[in-house]
Symmetry: C3
Subunit: 215 residues, 3 copies
């Protein structure tokens, strides 16, 4: 039991690092200063969990009680800023080319982990309805990236990236369904793997969903 | 009493359909794919009620407990997407012309219904202060459309459409005032009618409010 | 004690006036009509406190229980609109030139006051953890301006202005630290003074923080 809690905490930290990286990289790309980069990194990392806790009535939200998430996100943002700042040389162009790929990977990891972490928090708070668990998971997963995109005046990933909300919903459904049938840990790991796999496959093979053409 | 509850539930579903349509149509216009359209439809439909429940401390918000609102919004978005997808032909241009009118009507209906539904929820939660009821009603009414516009990177209706917040405030005041003097049902219907009438008249006759000119 | 409460209430009203002014001025500059200007003024003024109360689980938020904040913000917005509306003459150009300076001052005052007011509210609600107090203070301080910028489709101050979040964090830390060691009133005033001083000095001397250059 405690073992499971530890593993979920480790997953949370990994998700925090991944989302903080995606926020900080966007800030660096948009030429924000060091504080703007840190703010965007922190908001991306804690935004999903904050939204989840407000919705579940967990007040004050967990991130206010334990500074570790904010501190981790701040440290990651600073490291990324410094390494990019010092690297202001001929490799800058090349960095920019690989930027989108790295950002997509980090975002997918954060999306997958926060989706299942959100479901675990809801289960801990005493909920077990399939729809509620799934929806809370999806909101936790997409919340941070959505706040990042809104604040940075980008088109939200959730509306524009093919198979983004879709990946989160699939993994959340899997996790919420399995968590009521088996031990929590494998259900959580499987759910996260489903989200990350679908999202990465969709990004790699440029899966397209139909859209209405108007010309 | 139960009768009133049923009618308010029917109004909620109509409001959900109207707001989901306005969100989905905006997504279609912005050439989002099928998931983006559904996400925008759902957020527009449930955003106002979600904001209201968070503010009133109703956790988890009603939409998490009853999937009917999300399912309705998803179905409406899908139907609109499919009908527009199949209709990709010479009528496309004509559709685009009537788009704004349809969107305005749907948005006005959603605005009116959610404004009074918000007041009813606050009354059910034990509040009866005129200011609180009015403000909660307005936030419930404008919340969904505001989230829609922010996510789609549009200028928010609430800031740019003439007589938008104004219509919601007038109807909310009428409903909050009457609900303490008469049966709940007529107060609710009158309030919604006030919002929708003012909004539609303003849109039809292009009522203008003064603004500061700088040339 | 009651004396302290009164002074904090007066600070809140000053902060409300300052933030409402910054929101209304942005609306006027963006040529919104009178209602849009009022909506933006009110949201800027009450947004920080609303966010804080939702996070602390204070439901309904204070601004719903006491109309004075909304009424003050509405009145300030109307007065600014009318005075600018009547002033539509050759001085318009000159007004626009001084606009940014006035806006920066009002925003700095609002930022400083709401940062420390947020901490006081958290203390009243029974919290005393340094990290929580600081974070709640910062969110209360930056929340209104952030909502203003997102709704008006501006680049958020918090991400782009040099030494903005930084000023709020410094003053919040000072206030949260001192409030546990001395009387509440001096700690509050010192905290606000720290925020406003740092922010104004940074704006006046164009302090720059490092950013990553890519050319």
């Amino acid at each position: 039991m405690d073992h499971t809690g530890n593993i979920i905490f480790i997953m949370e930290i990994i998700g925090t690092i991944a989302f903080a990286s995606s926020g900080a990289l966007l800030g660096i790309r948009k030429r924000m200063d060091v504080f703007g980069v840190c703010v965007l990194g922190v908001i991306t990392a804690v935004g999903g969990g904050l939204t989840r806790d407000v919705i579940l009535g967990i007040t004050p939200p967990g991130m206010f009680q334990n500074p570790v998430y904010t501190a981790t996100a701040m440290a990651v943002s600073l490291i990324l800023f410094i390494s990019n700042y010092k690297g202001r040389d001929k490799t800058g162009e090349k960095r920019l080319v690989i930027y989108d790929k790295v950002m997509t990977v980090f975002d997918a990891i954060g999306l997958g982990i926060f989706t299942v972490v959100g479901i675990n928090t809801a289960v801990d708070a005493g909920y077990n309805q399939l729809f509620l668990l799934t929806f809370v998971g999806v909101i936790t997963g997409v919340g941070g990236g959505l706040l990042r995109d809104i604040m940075a005046q980008e088109k939200p990933y959730i509306l524009t990236k093919h198979v983004y909300a879709c990946a989160s919903i699939a993994g959340a459904l899997a996790c919420a369904f399995l968590i009521r049938m088996m031990n929590r840990l494998p259900a959580t790991v499987i759910g996260a793997a489903v989200v990350i796999s679908i999202r990465m496959l969709a990004a790699h093979y440029h899966w397209n969903l139909p859209r209405v053409n108007r010309e």
